[in-house]
């Protein structure tokens, strides 16, 4: 998981972006979480050849990115290294379905299907990344608790996220030490990996116990205290209405087809 380093490196980390004061950052986290879920569902609802109908939906991540003043590079880097498994499956499409599309562009249905999957992939993952690039993770957790996610799971999410960085560093130190010990074979063997992971786990357990004691000393009773969000404001209403309008129009209407017909003169 080399992308761990990439995904967390430097001040461009998504959480750091999310903590700045931007119009998108000031929106209520619940609005953004629910909008993201609705958006992803609508994106997935299009058929395997409906690439064109996805186009208007790009407005949502673009708007969120602009409102949150999110630089495009960290998002693009994460999208580029994401999910080789899903993309590998999509790459088979052109070979499986060679039905040519009418129109003489030389594009087969499989190729269009591949592009559609790619489009959906960029839209839905882009929306998720932009959510966390405009909303600090504790606010995402507040929103999740508010929409009914069990308390235990929310605490779990907060703590996992908190220690991700710490243990990630620990893991990097272990790997560096291992690479120094065996320079001719820097990648651990299965046997060595067992030992490395074992000591990583033992260290993690020791750390968990120290944290537990420290938290109990400070009155921890199993409940992570969460910030109480204010009431959603006018900006939230506008954002929600605009998102809803976009999703409804994209789902029910077919703006690209109308425009395309207008331009090509096709009776379609």
């Amino acid at each position: 998981m080399a992308r761990f380093a990439t995904a967390y490196a430097g001040p461009a980390s998504l959480d750091a972006l999310a903590r700045r004061d931007t119009p998108a950052g000031r929106l209520d986290p619940r609005t953004k979480v629910l909008a993201t879920v609705a958006f992803v569902v609508v994106v997935a609802s299009f058929g395997r050849l409906e690439l064109a109908r996805l186009a208007p939906l790009a407005a949502y991540p673009l708007a969120l990115g602009v409102l949150g003043d999110v630089p495009w590079r960290p998002i693009a880097v994460r999208l580029a290294i994401a999910s080789p498994f899903a993309l590998g499956m999509a790459a088979a499409e052109p070979f499986l379905d060679r039905t040519p599309l009418p129109g003489g562009l030389g594009v087969s249905a499989g190729e269009l299907a591949l592009l559609t999957i790619l489009g959906k992939f960029l839209l839905s993952l882009g929306a998720a990344l932009l959510l966390v690039a405009t909303t600090p993770f504790d606010d995402v957790c507040v929103a999740l608790r508010r929409v009914g996610v069990p308390r235990v799971l929310v605490s779990q999410l907060l703590l996992t996220y908190r220690y991700l960085f710490v243990l990630g560093e620990e893991s990097r130190r272990l790997l560096r030490a291992h690479a120094l010990r065996s320079p001719d074979r820097p990648r651990p063997t299965l046997r060595a990996a067992g030992a490395l992971l074992g000591s990583l786990l033992v260290r993690a357990l020791a750390r968990a116990e120290r944290i537990h004691v420290a938290m109990r000393c400070r009155g921890f009773d199993g409940t992570m205290p969460l910030r109480r969000p204010g009431a959603p404001g006018r900006a939230d209403a506008v954002f929600a209405a605009a998102t809803l309008a976009l999703l409804v129009v994209a789902r029910l209407g077919d703006l690209p087809a109308h425009l395309g017909r207008l331009l090509t003169g096709s009776p379609g």
């Binding site: 991700l164 357990l205 938290m215 003169g265 009776p267």
Partner: protein
Amino acid sequence: MHMSDALISPAVGGTLWAATAGLTAVAARRVERSGQDTRAPLMGVLGAFVFAAQMVNFSIPGTGSSGHLGGGLLLAILLGPHAGFLVMTSVLLVQALFFADGGVLALGCNVFNLGFFTSYVAYPLVWRPLAGRAPGRGRLALASIVAGVVGLQLGAFGVVLETTTSGVSSLPFSTFAGLMQSIHLAIGIVEGLVTAAVVLAVQRARPEVLIRERAGGGSLRLVVTGIAIAAVVVGGVLSWFASVRPDGLEWTIARVSGSEALKAPATNVHAAMARLQERTAVLPDYALPASTAKKAERGSPAETSLSGLVGGALVFGVALAIGAGARIRRRAGGA
């Protein structure tokens, strides 16, 4: 083997979301009732441990490729099924949001494939009875390998079923299933070996961590039940598909073209606009003969997609321009 949002339909994603929500609620209640919630720090740190552990890429003997720990089985062994399931859920959610691994809609699928099968089938029905109370090295390795294989076979099969029923990918069911099951046989063995190695390391250094969860006695009947469930699910459904749907690809295509909503019929307004269009059209030669749509059933969505593509590119360009314009304005305003 994370499922992606791009490869599933809302129906499949929604169904598994609902199932996951129910399971999460049950698991959360069980964890709270057992007083385990004061162990939140342990659970949280173990969630982070799974991430850190996945950074350790080891070479897989004899293949030249590399792999990393999945973690579902290990979490269940260390924390028990309910807490293990919750930790795995949180890991998958963080992966979906921050690593673009999986997806928001696909979260339910991923929790099911990678969390449910390991926590609620492989661990209680295979690992615990096989390992027994105080397993030696060999027995622990055996239990972990068998449980790892069972968990990953079920998970891989989940991926196949979810993908096929979604109808987004046109991978033929039988080929896809054959590929996934055989690849994950190997991955399952590796997962079992690594899990066993880590558990052994913990047993040597911190035996008390494991004793807590090791209540179940060794009953062979449970193991047989667990493996039988896995075999029936995978084998049964596989053969059913093979006999009912002789050609997976044809079936998928039929499903796709059947479920595709027909394009909106031409309205009066539209007909009136058509004459205007003929004169204003930029690319009039791209008009498609309407008869092809009737000949090939799949033609109708494919045909509209050409003019759709042109329009789509345009809308995308406009959206992009608006975004760029807004950004420039923001910059100018901020400066």
